[in-house]
Symmetry: C2
């Protein structure tokens, strides 16, 4: 179990520097995916608080555990990790959030955040103040349920697919899970995070990815950009 070096001195979230402008929710391109899917244009007029559009470079944290939960965040592009800490201080990634998912849902029922939410890739999110959700609560009821449901599915997915079986299988399943639908290309992240996600060491993560490259299961076409041989990866994911 390792402790993380790169986290040192990053206890505060650093979203302030990444502000990108106010969002125009009504014209949102992924509106059908998000919390506001059911709202009418009349409803939008009741939102008097700014919905911010935030761009997060990889490694940026959206919030830290224990911090006051002031907002929810809809993931628009990219990939977020939710991590928690073990008794011995080591970290463990307990969930991955992809576009359409919501980070910080616990804001609705808890005064503080329970994870660190950190971008694994360049990521775009919408910051929705807690009060907006409170005010629109009845209207959002159904969408909120769906988002909670998504959150649980992500979490169970992490246990089922990424924390079970051999290191080979876990890495293969990770490659399969990454950005499905975007062809055979996907973007990976640091080996330390791969380890914390799969429950293996950084070295084993690196070794296994390197082995996959040599076996031509994946091909690195750019820095952490991989071309995948999905059929073969899926076979490894399923058996041995």
């Amino acid at each position: 179990m390792q402790t993380r070096g790169s986290l040192t001195g990053m206890k505060d979230n650093d979203i302030a520097a990444a502000w990108n402008g106010l969002a125009t929710c009504e014209k949102c391109g992924i509106r059908s995916l998000v919390l506001f899917a059911d709202l009418t244009s009349e409803d939008f007029s009741f939102i008097h608080l700014p919905i911010e559009d935030i761009w997060l470079p990889a490694g940026t944290s959206l919030y830290q555990p224990g911090q006051n939960s002031s907002a929810l965040f809809t993931v628009r592009e990219g990939l977020l990790k939710l991590e928690q800490y073990l008794p011995d201080g080591a970290q463990r990634i307990v969930s991955l959030l992809r576009p359409g998912d919501v980070a910080g849902l616990e804001a609705i029922v808890a005064p503080i955040y329970e994870h660190a939410a950190i971008a694994l890739q360049p990521t775009k999110v919408c910051r929705i103040p807690k009060e907006v959700v409170t005010r629109l609560s009845p209207k959002l009821h159904h969408q909120l349920m769906k988002k909670w449901h998504d959150a649980i599915q992500r979490s169970h997915e992490c246990t089922r697919e990424l924390s079970t079986g051999s290191a080979r299988q876990r890495v293969a399943r990770l490659f399969v899970l990454l950005a499905p639908g975007s062809g055979d290309l996907c973007r990976l992240f640091g080996r330390e995070d791969v380890g914390a996600l799969l429950g293996i060491t950084t070295q084993t993560a690196s070794r296994t990815v390197a082995e996959f490259k040599r076996a031509r299961l994946v091909r690195e076409v750019g820095p952490n950009i991989f071309h995948r041989d999905l059929p073969r990866l899926e076979q490894i994911a399923a058996e041995g």
Copy 2:
């Protein structure tokens, strides 16, 4: 990765045989913990569908994945496992539900159940028809959010505490998690389930529990009833 023998021929749920009578929710002893915490006695008059009180012997399934989701279940006593299946057909326990938790929350947003919910110990649940929840939806809003939140915390707990670290640590953390507040006594379950929960083999589960007994970290005072040395278990859980 092992497949389960004892599941064979148990695809259907067997709650029909376990019916126990209608519940009187207003007088429920754990009312503050459950979904109906916020209801007034007037609200109860709107419930025209029966809330059943069900007793589940250990090993009984409440529902199976793919089955029509007709109800939610509040856990009143005992312990439930939620399990899913891996690509290769092996099973993995993705969450444990304890008293106050709700099984089958996905019924609210999905037409079918996504897990098998099976009693690990003799367990008592309340069966709440989906329509009751739909009808009382606005009233239950806040409690539902809390229940979703609990469900996610359970799931993250399983990843963080029970699927991370050495087998020794995982078993120690399991003993610590089991029925906290009930003194130093707790009830364990079959070694196969311990394995599926911790992501280790049945044999390693058995070996480790046996080793704990020899080291007097736990003492078996009855069939799968253990007396725990919590301080020492917590120490193992935290370090090595």
